[in-house]
């Protein structure tokens, strides 16, 4: 008799305990979510405030820079021009150094009748009264020359004329 009464009371007690637990759990969860939500809203508000300060700072700086617009444009153009000028100076060829390096090879007994030159080949028409000096020029000076980027030398159009001996020397360059 007393056992059946005890069972019903125990079951009710368990149910009440479960309900209390669930209630407490839901209160805790809601409180935590509420606090989290409020914190997030406060954080967003603070960040947006920061953002508007930076935006204001940017506006102020743009306002100051507007008064320096002429200097700004000039500076940009100067730097742009310098970058392009540097490219040109690095890339352009200097024909005078090639011609000069060849001219120093010719002794005073030789006359330069003509010169034709491009980036790839420089041609000198030379004349001399002394045939032996032609041999010396070719065997000694030209063979031992240290002309930069020289690929080959051709001797062409050799002839005897009123100037003595005339011929073309073609100096071919790799670049």
């Amino acid at each position: 008799m007393s056992t059946s009464i005890n069972l019903i009371t125990e079951k009710k007690r368990q149910v009440r305990r479960a309900i209390r637990f669930i209630t407490l759990f839901s209160i805790v969860v809601f409180t935590l979510f509420f606090i989290a939500g409020a914190s997030f809203i406060a954080t967003v508000f603070s960040l947006k405030n920061n953002l508007s300060l930076y935006a204001q700072n940017e506006q102020d700086l743009r306002g100051k820079l507007a008064s320096l617009s002429e200097t700004r444009e000039r500076t940009i153009l100067i730097q742009d021009r310098l970058a392009n000028i540097e490219k040109i100076i690095k890339t352009r060829k200097n024909l005078s150094t090639k011609i000069e390096s060849i001219l120093v090879l010719f002794p005073s007994s030789f006359m330069v009748d003509s010169v034709e030159g491009t980036e790839k080949v420089v041609t000198f028409r030379l004349s001399t009264q002394d045939l032996a000096s032609v041999d010396k020029l070719l065997e000694d000076k030209i063979k031992n020359s240290k002309i930069k980027n020289l690929a080959k030398i051709d001797l062409k159009a050799f002839e005897e004329n009123k100037k003595g001996y005339s011929f073309n020397l073609d100096f071919h360059f790799v670049n």
Partner: protein, 214 residues
Amino acid sequence: MQDFKGIYLKYKTYFFPILLLVASFFVLLTIILPQFSQIQKVRQEIDAKKIQVAKLEKTYETLSKTNDLDSKSSFSTVTKALPSSKDLSLIFSALTSASSVANVELSSFSLKVGDVYGTRVDTASAVSGFPAITVETTIKSLSSLGLVKFVEEMHKKLPLSEVKKISGVEDTTTITMSFFYKPYDLTNLSKQDQISPLTSREQQLLDQLKDWDK
């Protein structure tokens, strides 16, 4: 009505926790998750603004320290070295100056026909894609050294040029050269937000150009 009252009385202890859980779920979906993504977005915007402000501050610092006279003088030099358009007076001035220094006689000079007032950009004979105007000039020199000196001097004159071909007989030589120019690309230039001071390399180049311009 009696049924609802009966259900309510039977389950009233469950209503409160269920209500709280539903409210929690509602707070999660409508406040927490949207605000979390908003925080990420605003942080990114702040980072972008910080970078922009730093660029503008650096630009302002550079420009406010720039001496106006120096800047105008430098601008004049660089635009003389690489004009934005074909400038015959500059070219002629460079040729006469080089001939004077090299002690040669400048007999004549001519331009490639059709290029003087044309708007079409000719890059066929140019260095590294720069447009150029082709000039043919004839000089008279008693020796080859005068010719060499003239070509050397042209290398140091403004506007910048490059000798493409030399053809000489006795004392008369015809020299074909390209004078470079480059129009401004204003769309690209206007997009620039950050301006830094000239680097030491740029300053050296500018000094060299000023030296050539004397």
